[in-house]
């Protein structure tokens, strides 16, 4: 059957809305990426959306003093390239006073009162000629309109990763995040199966307890849990600020949601499949391992993404349980440090920020279909 295409107002409005939402979500990220690979001078001079066009900047240079004059045929000459070799910059116009910057074109000759003539070429070479020797002890100022071509570089990343400690922080964050994602999933999967499919006394109260824990604010339990950890750690001889501590903390804070999410998903699996497996001779552990776990992959993946993103972006728990030592500082904390110490160096902040978001970005984009499916856990029956 052929469907009649309709270009109704509401359809257009819908598409425009979607387009708008996509743009406001993706543009800032794009801007951050573009900014982080721009030359640091250009970054401060103009916005990222001008990154592909030549920028103009007013600059002022001072000519050399008389000592650098060279005798040439018929007089004396002072020569100076204004730009570094290979910078591809050029001159748009120039002048000898700030308000005359647009007065002369490249290659124009301007005569000075003492009879000498000065000119600036398009390539930025300054040529000053006089028939009598120069005697000035202070160079005159030349105002130029410099045309700067776009320049992209990974120097910012090199600097941030190597000398600003972001590389080490990146590794630290990975060290925190991976175990803090997988430990709770492992525990929660077992708990969720038991709460969904095993018949034992107090099961419903236990589940109600888990739901109750969902609403306990993290900030409230942070310090008591830390104290408990330190006291137990003191008995066992474990240092107070360690990776194990932060793993356990994230596990604890993540477990209620994990158990709740996974239990709901597992409870939605058809009962007859479990019964069939029981009749086939499967124990609870067999059913969990061979039936429920493979069927729960969408929910497991969905929670893994949740937990991964949350731990990756976490600052508070890491600060409290891990501290800020160089060998343990996480990315978010390092970024905050940079914001304080190098707040004016945008090239460092943008590249640091992008390094921070690139992993969540990749994780989200590669697993988003699980993300959506897992959020709908239970409401849509998976084949």
């Amino acid at each position: 059957m052929k469907k009649k295409s309709t270009f109704s107002f509401s359809l257009i409005l819908k598409h425009l809305t979607v387009l708008f939402l996509v743009l406001i979500w993706t543009l800032p990220t794009l801007g951050l990426l573009v900014s982080s690979v721009r030359d640091k001078d250009q970054l401060t001079a103009s916005g990222w959306w001008t990154a592909l066009v030549t920028t103009e900047r007013n600059e002022v240079y001072r000519t050399p003093i008389a000592d650098e004059q060279v005798a040439v045929e018929g007089g004396w000459r002072i020569y100076m390239p204004l730009f570094e070799a290979g910078s591809d910059r050029s001159i748009g116009s120039w002048g000898l006073r700030a308000d005359e910057i647009g007065l002369n074109l490249p290659g124009d000759k301007v005569s000075l009162d003492d009879g000498s003539a000065i000119s600036v070429l398009e390539s930025g070479e300054l040529d000053w000629f006089s028939e009598t020797p120069f005697t000035h002890t202070r160079g005159i100022r030349v105002f130029v309109d410099a045309r700067i071509p776009p320049r992209f570089t990974f120097d910012n990343y090199r600097e941030v990763l190597a000398s600003e400690g972001v590389g080490q922080a990146f590794i630290n964050t990975l060290t925190v995040t991976l175990p803090a994602t997988f430990i709770p999933i492992l525990i929660a999967a077992f708990a969720a199966y038991a709460l969904a499919w095993m018949d034992f006394a107090g099961r419903h109260w236990l589940l109600a307890g888990v739901v109750g824990l969902l609403v306990v604010p993290l900030q409230m339990s942070l310090i008591p849990v830390l104290q408990l950890y330190n006291q137990v750690g003191a008995i066992l001889g474990v240092p107070s600020k360690s990776y194990v501590g932060v793993w356990l903390a994230h596990t604890g804070f993540g477990l209620p949601l994990a158990i709740y999410l996974l239990r709901n998903y597992m409870a939605g699996l058809p009962r007859e499949i479990m019964e069939s497996a029981r009749m086939d001779g499967a124990s609870h552990f067999d059913i969990f391992l061979k039936i429920v776990l493979p069927l729960s992959i969408p929910a497991l993946a969905s929670f893994a993404i949740f937990q991964f993103l949350w731990v990756w972006n976490d600052l508070l728990v890491a600060m409290v349980y891990l501290g800020q030592g160089v060998e343990k500082i996480v990315l978010t904390a390092q970024l905050r440090e940079l914001l304080g110490s190098r707040g004016a160096n945008w090239e460092i902040l943008t590249s640091g920020a992008f390094i921070t978001i690139v992993v969540p970005l990749v994780v989200f984009l590669s697993m988003q279909r699980y993300f959506v499916r897992g959020l709908l856990a239970g409401s849509v029956k998976g084949g």
Binding site: P270, E272, E275, S276, R278, M279, D280, I291
Partner: protein, 367 residues
């Protein structure tokens, strides 16, 4: 040897009794169908045999062993579920092999057993497929394969055909029957469809409200229903049930629209009801138009046609008759051109009526 016997089995959830003292013997190698309306406890009964439901009271024996507290896997039973309950992430082969693998059988033996079962059911081509790539009938076959591969002594079926379309259902019905006879195992089959029950069962157990109403072969149930419930449950369309008064002489049953002489085989038991009322059951096929039967003992009546259901080979006519709230249903020749609203004359085959006590709803004894 896998007979199954229920001895005063009770199943209750809290205060609610689902099964109230069930006594039932299922013989070895018998195809027993449990039938009844939804909520009658037939599935619960089946699940008790499977070991998926605990037994509140009484004994359940498989063979000579009381299995009340035996784990499902040790009962030597296999079950086919209504929704097939295939493992969606496993191929057909893995589905069938699942139970064998859990029993840690050697690989080559599993391979052989699975292929044997697959061949029996015509699944050999499909062994590598996932369940979602199979049609409903094929899934049903895989579920069967999973049950037969372990060579259990009891098969349990929980409405296995209710998700199939009509044509496939007829085909699978025959296949399941043949399979059970060939494998020579005891089968217990739950259904709410009385056609399935009649065609498949060696014997049928009719359950209602957690109680066993009658057990017997399909024809026994049809010819001699023990109570009003069974009489109306078995047979399509439902048996007509008229409340009639027996004359003081015990010879004639009277109704405002028809009088029926008491058939000889009923006279003795009807004696006790002289001057009282009786429930008279008449199957629709025993109510026919005057020119469409060759019965010797008939009673004539007439009614107004209210509904006509055309089935092709026959029509089913619902008639309003005087002195009765319920319609009288009659099967007639399809080429009988009645119209709604017309008055038709029909005859009742008087020797084929059933008599029930109006109080107890039980069948009177006939000779």
């Amino acid at each position: 040897m896998a007979s199954i016997s229920f001895e005063k089995v009770v199943k209750s959830y809290g205060d609610v009794n689902i099964i109230r003292g069930l006594d039932l013997d299922i013989r070895d190698k018998e195809f027993m169908v449990l039938v009844g309306p939804s909520g009658c406890g037939k599935s619960t009964t089946l699940r008790m045999i499977a070991g998926l439901e605990e037994i509140t009271n009484g004994h359940l024996k498989i063979g000579d062993r009381v299995v009340n507290s035996v784990h499902p896997k040790d009962r030597d039973v296999a079950m086919v579920f209504q929704s097939y309950a295939l493992y969606p992430h496993m191929s057909v082969f893995e589905n069938i092999a699942f139970g064998l693998r859990l029993r840690k059988l050697p690989k080559d033996e599993i391979h052989k057993m699975v292929h044997d079962a697959a061949e029996t059911l015509g699944l050999t081509e499909l062994l590598d497929r996932k369940p979602k790539a199979l049609s409903g009938g094929q899934r049903q076959r895989v579920a069967l394969g999973r049950a037969i591969v372990r060579k259990p002594s009891v098969f349990l079926f929980d409405e296995p055909l209710s998700n199939l379309d009509a044509e496939l259902r007829v085909q699978m019905r025959a296949e399941i029957g043949k399979l059970q006879k060939r494998l020579a195992v005891t089968a217990v089959y739950v259904t709410h469809d009385q056609v399935e029950a009649m065609t498949m069962g060696d014997r049928i157990a009719v359950l209602h409200d957690g109680e066993l109403r009658q057990v017997g072969t399909p024809l026994e149930l049809y010819d001699a229903p023990q109570n009003v419930f069974v009489a109306q449950f078995i047979g399509t369309p439902n048996m007509n049930m008229l409340r009639m008064t027996l004359d003081e002489d015990g010879k004639t049953l009277r109704h405002p629209s028809v009088s029926i002489p008491v058939p000889p085989q009923w006279i003795a038991s009807a004696n006790a009801y002289k001057g009282k009322s009786l429930l008279v059951g008449i199957r629709p096929e025993h109510v026919r138009a005057v020119d469409e039967n060759e019965w010797h003992n008939t009673a004539a009546l007439s009614g107004t046609v209210e509904i006509i259901e055309t089935l092709g080979h026959e029509i089913i006519v619902h008639m309003a008759i005087e002195g009765s709230d319920t319609q009288l249903i009659s099967k007639m020749d399809a080429h009988n051109t009645h119209t709604v609203g017309s008055v038709v004359s029909v005859e009742v085959h008087t020797t084929r009526i059933h008599l029930f006590d109006p109080e107890t709803q039980q069948r009177l004894t006939s000779e």
